[in-house]
Amino acid sequence: MKFLPSRCPACSADLQVKRLCCPTCETEVGGAFDLPVLARLSVQDQSFIWEFVKASGSLKAMAKLLGLSYPTVRNRLDDIIARIKNAEVQCKELHHPVEERLGGNHE
């Protein structure tokens, strides 16, 4: 099983999708597409979110599923929330460079 990498193995920068293809008609689409924020998380974090949604967002149900205590599961969720917020900030910085955000005008 191969997992989708989200970081460059050489410089650790965020990777982008350059080509997409249709497995049915083999049409290829080229460009520079950012990975969605959720896809940038680790496989473990994605699996946690997956199960969390399936459990209707119940931390108690997650604790039961994982065999862990309620605060341990809540702490893990807090850590994932922090990572999602970081990824969002990075995403914004990528699309709105510092000069733009500071209101710089290059005309």
Binding site: Q44, S47, W50, L65, L66, G67, Y70, P71, D78
Partner: protein, 227 residues
């Protein structure tokens, strides 16, 4: 998402080390509170039989006779002093939302090693050694001709060995209890690193002072004194 990826969220196998030093990874909240309080009662009863007082969050002393309820009151005061102060510290130091029941539960369960300490003081060798000390120390300290060698002269060596072993076990149990208290606090409030350690040390010292004062007040109002 594939089934392979789902393995990441399968229940993890518990190992003994983790269960001993961080049981709160698996147990917290109401269940920890029930187990902790459930053990606090028998520990207080065993403590009353061996006259073992937990007269402070980190204190263990033996000798003073008192009614059974007082031994339970000491344990409850120790537990609440630390748990409530840790909850206050959590509100200040933690950025996460946490439940009071987790702190109360983990701190109640963290006091479990004290049950073993109280049981250790029940050993006949320890009781004989303490009786020997209580009977001989006052006479020897009041006698102007007595030397320290007089105390050791008739000392039962086997009882001394048992006593030393229980003291060593007691020290290890206190270290274990403090480690459990810290882990309980860190897990309940989602704290780690210097922020967790520093706030825990400050609260532990404050709780020790608070519990000591509270226990002395209860003892005085109930007419329980060492004299």
């Amino acid at each position: 998402m594939s089934d392979d990826a789902m393995h990441a969220v399968q229940p993890r196998r518990k190992n003994w080390f983790s269960m001993l030093f961080n049981p709160f990874r698996y147990v917290a909240g109401g269940s920890a509170l029930v187990i902790g309080l459930g053990l606090m009662g028998p520990a207080a009863y065993v403590g009353s039989l061996s006259r073992t007082h937990f007269d402070g969050v980190l204190d263990v002393h033996s000798g003073l006779a008192a009614p059974t309820w007082f031994f339970l009151a000491e344990s409850v005061i120790d537990w609440l002093s630390l748990a409530l102060l840790l909850a206050l510290a959590g509100f200040v130091a933690s950025r996460s939302k946490f439940r009071l029941v987790d702190i109360l539960g983990t701190q109640a369960l963290a006091r479990t090693p004290m049950f073993l300490v109280a049981a250790g003081f029940l050993l006949p060798g320890v009781q004989r050694f303490l009786t020997y000390l209580l009977e001989n120390l006052p006479t020897l300290t009041q006698s102007p001709t007595a030397t320290p060698a007089d105390l050791w002269k008739d000392l039962p060596l086997a009882d001394l060995a048992v006593f030393a072993l229980v003291m060593l076990t007691m020290l290890l149990m206190i270290v274990w209890m403090v480690a459990l208290m810290y882990r309980g606090y860190a897990v309940s409030c989602n704290l780690r690193g210097a922020r967790a350690a520093l706030s825990f040390i400050i609260v532990l010292l404050l709780a020790e002072i608070l519990s000591k004062f509270a226990i002395i007040s209860v003892a005085r109002s109930a007419g329980i004194t060492s004299s």
